[in-house]
C-alpha cells in the first residue's frame, strides 16, 4: 500500500514536468517570446531585460533547464501589472478559488448523489425520467449562460442577491450554484448507472432473497459499493471543476486565480499566467492523488490489485 502511494506520488512531478514542458513550448517557442511577453509599446530596455531574464541568448535545452530551476524555486519572475512576484500575486488569489471550487464541489456531490439515488430507485418511472432529462439537458448548458440567467433573475429582477462581489456568504451563492451545475448532471448520471449496475450483483440479490428490505439492501449493500465509482469519477471531474472555475470567476468578477489568469492574458502579464497555470495544475494533480489514496483506503480490492 505504501508502495502504491509512492508510485502515485512519483506520478505527480511527472505530470507537472509535462505541464512545464507544455508551458515552455507554448509561451517560448510559438513565435518570438519578446512579442508574446511585451506589447507594441516596448522599450529597448524592456527587451534587454527580458532577454536577460529568460536567457533567450542561450540554447533551447539550457533555457528549459533554467526555466525548470526557477520553477523549483517558485520563481516565475515579477508581475508586470502588479508589484511583487508573480507567485505571490497568484498565491493571494488561491483562497478565493478554493473557497468557490470547494463549495461548488460539495454542492454538486451532495445533490448529484441524491439525484442519482432517486433516479436509480425509481428507475424508468416519472421521477427518473424527469431528473435524468434535466440532467442530460444540463450537460448541454453552457455554464456562462446559466450564470447570466441567474444574475438576470436573482440579482437584477428579484434583487435578492448581488450580481458580483466577494467577502460575504451572499456573494458566494450564485457563483457556487453556477459552478456546481457544471458537475451536477454528470454526478446524477454516474450515480444512477453505478447503483443500477450494482443492483444486479449477486450479493445484492442474495441480500434481497434472504429477506432484507429494499431500503436496507440499498443502505448496507449498494451504497457502500457505489462510493468508489463515484469517487473515481470525481477524480476525473476535478479538471472540469477548475476549468469551470475560470469561467465562473469571470462572470461574477470573483477575485480568484481563474479571473486573474484571464485578465493577465489580456495584460500580457506572462509571469502571472505561468504561475496561475502551474498552481491550477498542481491543485489538480494533488487532488487526484488524494482521490486515489481515498479509493484505496475505502476499497480493499484496489489495495490487493
Amino acid at each position: 500500500m505504501a508502495l502504491y502511494i509512492l508510485r502515485r506520488l512519483a506520478f505527480v512531478p511527472f505530470t507537472l514536468l509535462l505541464v512545464a514542458f507544455a508551458v515552455f513550448i507554448v509561451l517560448r517557442l510559438t513565435g518570438n517570446p519578446v512579442d508574446i511577453f511585451l506589447d507594441i509599446n516596448r522599450t529597448p530596455e524592456q527587451v534587454e531585460e527580458l532577454t536577460r531574464r529568460l536567457h533567450l541568448d542561450q540554447p533551447l535545452p539550457v533555457q528549459f533547464l533554467i526555466f525548470l530551476r526557477d520553477l523549483l524555486h517558485g520563481d516565475f519572475g515579477e508581475s508586470l501589472q502588479f508589484s511583487g512576484s508573480a507567485a505571490l500575486v497568484v498565491w493571494q488569489r488561491a483562497g478565493a478559488t478554493l473557497q468557490l471550487a470547494g463549495t461548488a464541489l460539495a454542492l454538486a456531490v451532495a445533490l448529484g448523489v441524491l439525484g442519482g439515488i432517486v433516479c436509480a430507485v425509481w428507475r424508468d418511472r416519472a421521477a427518473d425520467a424527469l431528473v435524468s432529462s434535466i440532467a442530460i439537458a444540463g450537460q448541454s448548458m453552457p455554464s456562462f449562460w446559466l450564470g447570466m440567467l441567474l444574475i438576470e433573475f436573482f440579482a437584477l429582477q428579484m434583487r435578492w442577491l448581488p450580481t458580483s462581489g466577494y467577502g460575504e456568504p451572499k456573494h458566494l451563492v450564485l457563483p457556487a450554484i453556477t459552478l456546481a451545475t457544471i458537475l451536477l448532471p454528470n454526478f446524477v448520471l454516474i450515480t444512477r448507472t453505478a447503483i443500477i449496475e450494482l443492483a444486479n450483483e449477486q450479493f445484492v440479490v442474495t441480500g434481497r432473497s434472504k429477506g432484507l428490505s429494499r431500503s436496507r439492501v440499498l443502505l448496507t449493500h449498494i451504497l457502500p459499493n457505489a462510493v468508489n465509482p463515484v469517487l473515481s469519477f470525481l477524480g476525473i471531474q476535478l479538471g472540469h471543476l477548475m476549468a469551470g472555475s475560470i469561467v465562473t470567476e469571470t462572470i461574477f468578477a470573483w477575485p480568484g486565480v481563474g479571473r486573474l489568469l484571464i485578465t493577465s492574458i489580456s495584460h500580457r502579464d506572462v509571469p502571472v499566467v505561468e504561475a496561475a497555470v502551474f498552481l491550477i495544475a498542481t491543485i489538480i494533480a494533488l487532488s487526484n492523488l488524494l482521490v486515489d489514496v481515498l479509493q484505496m483506503l475505502i476499497d480493499p480490492r484496489i489495495r490487493r490489485a
Partner: protein, 282 residues
C-alpha cells in the same frame, strides 16, 4: 427486464439528427436566410427588443444589439463558425487520438508507455487551460482555434481506442493476420479500424458538442475570434454586459448554443444505443 422508456432510440436520432441537419443547413445558407448583413450597423435602432415587445422595430425579429445590428442575422451567421470549429477540431483530435491509440495498442512496450502516460498526464490537465494558454500565445483566429481545440482533446479518443485495440488483438483473426506477417498499417486498416468505427462515431459525435461548448467558452472569455466577428460566444459575451438593458441578446445566444449542443448530444446518445443494443436498457 426492459421497460418502456420516455425517450427511445428513434426519438433521440430523429430529434437530435433533425436539429443538427437544420443547424448545418442554416450555416450553409446563412446569406440567403439572414434578413440583414450581420455587420450592418444602424445606431438609430440600438438595443431595440424584438417581436414580443410593443417597442419592436419592424424587420428585426429578435431585436438589435448595442450597434443596432440585427440579432437574428448575427445568430444565423454565428452558427457557421460554431459548426466549422466544432466539426473540424473533432476530426483533428479524432485523427490524432485514433492513430495514437492504435499504435500504442499494437506496439505495446515503451511506445505504449510513452503515449498512454502522456495521455494520462494531459487528461489531468483541464483542456480549456491548455487552449487558453495556446490562444494567448498564438492568437485566436479560426484556424488556431481548430488546432488548439483539436490538440487539447486527442487523449479522449486515444484511451478508448487503445482499450479496444488491446481487446481486439486477442481475437483469432487479428492474431492470424499478425502471424501471417501483416504490417501494423495493414492490421490497423483491415481489422482494427472497422471494429473501432462504431464506438468512434458515437464518441466523435458527443465530442462535437463539447468542442462547440469549448469554442463558445473561449469566445466568451475574449480568447476566440476578436469582435466584431459574429460568433455565438462573442454575442453572448457582448450580451453579458447589457443584461439589464437588453437581456434578449444573451438569452437568444444562449438558447442557440444549448439547442445545438443538446441536439448533438441527443444524436450521439441515439447512435450509441443504435450500435450497442445492450445500452438501450440502461
Amino acid at each position: 427486464m426492459k421497460k418502456r422508456r420516455l425517450f427511445g432510440k428513434r426519438f433521440k436520432l430523429a430529434v437530435g439528427g433533425g436539429i443538427v441537419v437544420l443547424a448545418v443547413l442554416t450555416a450553409i445558407f446563412a446569406p440567403v436566410i439572414a434578413p440583414w448583413d450581420p455587420y450592418h450597423q444602424d445606431l438609430m435602432v440600438r438595443l431595440k427588443p424584438g417581436f414580443w415587445s410593443p417597442n419592436a422595430v419592424p424587420g428585426h425579429f429578435l431585436g438589435t444589439d448595442n450597434y443596432g445590428r440585427d440579432l437574428l442575422s448575427r445568430l444565423i451567421y454565428g452558427s457557421r463558425l460554431s459548426i466549422l470549429v466544432g466539426v473540424s477540431s473533432m476530426l483533428l483530435s479524432a485523427l490524432i487520438g485514433t492513430l495514437a491509440g492504435i499504435i500504442a495498442g499494437l506496439r505495446g512496450g515503451a511506445t505504449e508507455q510513452m503515449i498512454m502516460r502522456f495521455a494520462d498526464a494531459q487528461m489531468a490537465f483541464p483542456d480549456i487551460l491548455l487552449a487558453i494558454l495556446m490562444v494567448a500565445a498564438v492568437g485566436g483566429d479560426a484556424i488556431n482555434l481548430i488546432l488548439v481545440l483539436g490538440v487539447s482533446r486527442w487523449m479522449v479518443y486515444a484511451r478508448v481506442v487503445f482499450g479496444l485495440t488491446r481487446s481486439l488483438q486477442q481475437r483469432p483473426y487479428v492474431e492470424a493476420a499478425t502471424l501471417y506477417g501483416g504490417r501494423d498499417f495493414y492490421v490497423m486498416h483491415q481489422h482494427i479500424l472497422p471494429q473501432v468505427m462504431p464506438v468512434l462515431t458515437v464518441l466523435a459525435t458527443l465530442q462535437v458538442a463539447q468542442m462547440i461548448l469549448q469554442e463558445t467558452a473561449l469566445s466568451f472569455l475574449g480568447l476566440g475570434l476578436p469582435p466584431p466577428a459574429a460568433t455565438w460566444g462573442n454575442i453572448l459575451a457582448e450580451g453579458s454586459t447589457r443584461l439589464f438593458q437588453a437581456p434578449w441578446i444573451a438569452n437568444f445566444a444562449g438558447l442557440a448554443i444549448i439547442l445545438l449542443v443538446w441536439g448533438v448530444n441527443m444524436l450521439g446518445n441515439g447512435l450509441r444505443e443504435h450500435y450497442d443494443p445492450k445500452l438501450s436498457g440502461r
